[in-house]
């Protein structure tokens, strides 16, 4: 066997008073926080857009449709670069943005990019969930004298939310995978740390296997979590969205 494995490398000291293993964990931390914060943005924004999409108001629903088309037809890395390079140039407070800590800039751009991108997909899920409800639900709400807001709040959304938990699971998983794109603007997430490890330790196999295992672990944990939530959110009588 030609390659000599050297797994101890992770315990060896790296520049910066750390071990290489610490680099892996710091990358993991960034990937997790980035994914979670982007997910929060995406959920809120996506839910709002999803509702807008199903409203009788043509202007609002067309706006939401346009949003979805825009964010679904441009590649994620292009969107990220636009957030990072173009955003500060065009925004009025852009100059101030450029002065803040560069890591914060990268994180902000990545978080907003992932959040808005995933919001477009969640919008479609929410829309699908609401549309899958029988028409009678909305009409019954109106018959009871509820305003549109009340209908959504008390009748439509609670059911729709429980129905779309399975597709939301895959969106949640996707956000962690898509977060790897943040490494292209310099953010030291798991993927970026992988490249750094190869560079500094010259142990490509060990480094990449470690990072891949981390991603698989994140995937497994998220899936377990979502399975628990799914079983609690299941609506008896419905097979699923």
């Amino acid at each position: 066997m030609g390659y000599d494995w050297h797994w101890r490398v992770f315990l060896e000291p790296a520049p910066g008073h750390e071990r290489y293993l610490d680099w892996v964990f710091s990358g993991l931390k960034i990937t997790l926080t980035l994914g979670l914060s982007a997910w929060l943005i995406a959920l809120v924004l996506g839910a709002v857009l999803g509702v807008m999409r199903t409203l009788p108001n043509r202007a609002l629903s067309t706006f939401a449709a346009a949003y979805v088309e825009l964010f679904r037809n441009v590649p994620l890395i292009v969107q990220l670069f636009i957030w990072y390079f173009v955003g500060p140039e065009l925004l009025p407070f852009g100059d101030a943005l450029k002065k803040i800590d560069p890591v914060a800039q990268q994180y902000l751009a990545a978080m907003l990019c992932l959040g808005t991108y995933t919001a477009a997909r969640i919008c479609e899920q929410v829309r699908g969930g609401i549309l899958s409800l029988p028409r009678g639900q909305r009409l019954a709400g109106q018959a009871l004298g509820m305003t549109t807001v009340q209908t959504y709040r008390h009748v439509l959304l609670p059911m729709a939310a429980r129905i779309i938990v399975p597709p939301l699971t895959s969106e949640f998983l996707n956000i962690f995978k898509n977060s790897a794109v943040a490494s292209t603007v310099g953010l030291l997430d798991l993927a970026a740390q992988g490249r750094q490890l190869v560079d500094y330790t010259s142990r490509p196999y060990e480094s990449f296997i470690a990072i891949t295992v981390m991603y698989i672990l994140v995937n497994a944990v998220v899936m377990l979590l979502m399975r628990v939530i799914e079983s609690r959110a299941k609506v008896p009588g419905y097979i699923g969205a």
Partner: protein, 227 residues
């Protein structure tokens, strides 16, 4: 704060370079779609086979490639595997390993996603069909080839095409390897001329036009052909 836009980099002189990049994107998309569907179909059939071993093997493959970001898969095939691939597939090193690695990476990755679409498609064909086929004396493969798959494919085509659009967008990730696709060329021109802002917006607009048009075509197809 006003930014002075200067789109002069988007000129006829640079068209050649940009077109080259677009060609790379298109080549990867086309190859990965075809290979992805072929491998995906095989995987789907393995998933539905009666052998526990084959089922599990297919499940592992799909689970693995769906758990890892595409960027990591690309980096694996670009940095780590070329030597390995040359050994296993006996590709002469005279071939440009960059494109080969990218094509293999995308094909294997997309196959996992395609296999799920195809598996759902096959399962959506009513079981009466395969029973009827068997009753007519067809073997399993024959039944699949002549009866089930054609029906399944017709239902799945919009999804398969949509996944193709996603693939086209994903080719921009070859940014992390030594290949330059359309995005890579556009961004490179921007860096060279100091007009990154304009080139990024230009690239975004082009991608939007291409993908949006294709998605409209797919939607039209869905209305017309699939009930």
């Amino acid at each position: 704060m006003s930014y002075h836009f200067d789109f002069s980099t988007v000129n006829v002189g640079n068209l050649g370079v940009l077109a080259q990049g677009l060609l790379v994107s298109a080549e990867i998309t086309a190859t990965a779609v075809v290979a992805g569907i072929v491998i995906g179909t095989m995987l789907a059939m393995l998933r539905l086979s009666s052998s526990r071993l084959l089922r599990t093997a297919a499940r592992i493959y799909v689970a693995l490639f769906r758990a890892v970001p595409l960027i990591m898969v690309l980096l694996w095939f670009f940095l780590i595997i070329p030597q390995l691939l040359q050994q296993l597939l006996h590709i002469s090193p005279a071939h440009d390993m960059r494109m080969a690695s990218a094509l293999i990476a995308f094909s294997l990755f997309e196959a996992a996603y395609y296999s799920e679409i195809i598996r759902a498609g096959i399962q959506s064909v009513s079981t009466g069909q395969i029973d009827a086929a068997r009753a007519l004396g067809m073997g399993y493969i024959q039944a699949m080839r002549l009866v089930i798959l054609p029906q399944a494919l017709r239902n799945m085509t919009p999804l398969l095409l949509t996944q193709g659009i996603v693939l086209f967008q994903d080719t921009s990730l070859v940014y992390v390897s030594a290949l330059t696709d359309f995005f890579g060329e556009a961004y490179g021109l921007g860096e060279r001329d100091g007009r990154v802002v304009e080139m990024l917006l230009f690239a975004g607009a082009v991608y939007f036009l291409i993908c949006f048009s294709f998605s409209l075509v797919v939607r039209r197809y869905q209305k017309v052909v699939v009930y």
